[in-house]
Amino acid sequence: MLDFFTGHYAYWFTIILLCVGLYGILFKKNLIKKTIGLAILQISVVLYFVSIASKWDATVPVLDPNIPVDQVANYLNPLPHTLMLTAIVVGVATLGVAFTLLIAIYNRYNTLDEQELIEKIQ
């Protein structure tokens, strides 16, 4: 039972974080809050990928001459780390684009609320 808990609690926390982000995207009315929810959802996916890359009794994927590289159980899996390293930077760039569009919307319509925006567009 304790093994089951220590093996799965990271998944549960990332699922809770994903649901918080999805709640922000679906049910909030303000566009800034929707964008924050998007960022939280993205961070949850990043944390999930980093958490599945871990191994017990393994070290970080930087080569240490004292630890042999032949047995792969000695090192963490470097592939999810690399993917998430690039995903973080793309996340920052897309957040910049999202806030740029929000600034453009606010300059034109003077509001960021969803209902008011729909009324003003029509």
């Binding site: 093994d3 089951f4 220590t6 093996g7 799965h8 990271a10 998944y11 549960w12 699922i15 809770i16 994903l18 649901c19 999805l22 709640y23 679906l26 049910f27 958490s51 599945i52 871990s54 191994k55 017990w56 009794d57 393994a58 994927p61 930087v62 080569l63 240490d64 590289v69 032949d70 792969v72 159980a73 090192y75 899996n77 470097p78 592939l79 999810p80 780390h81 690399t82 390293l85 690039t86 930077v89 793309v90 920052v92 760039a93 897309t94 910049g96 684009v97 740029t100 569009l101 600034i103 453009a104 300059n107 034109r108």
Partner: protein, 96 residues
Amino acid sequence: MILFAGVLIYAANDLPYRGDPDNLMHVEKSVTNTQVKGNYFVQNAYRDARTPNMVTVVLGDYRSIDTFGEQVVIYTAGLITLLVLRRTRKIRRALK
């Protein structure tokens, strides 16, 4: 939303234990008896590029075209901010 979280947590109970070295992701040979990529990177990174940091080798050498696409994506994002906000200013001036 709580129902959705419950469904996801129930589904997550079937995932393998976190950090178990016997996971399918961490073993040397996959189910179809081919080499798993992450372990190929661990074993051959220093021999191929003389660089101790395996993440750097995977980022810069094995998946370098991916990283190039990445850089084009962030460059495009910067250009989008430039174009959208400059254009708003010009439209404002035209309206005045």
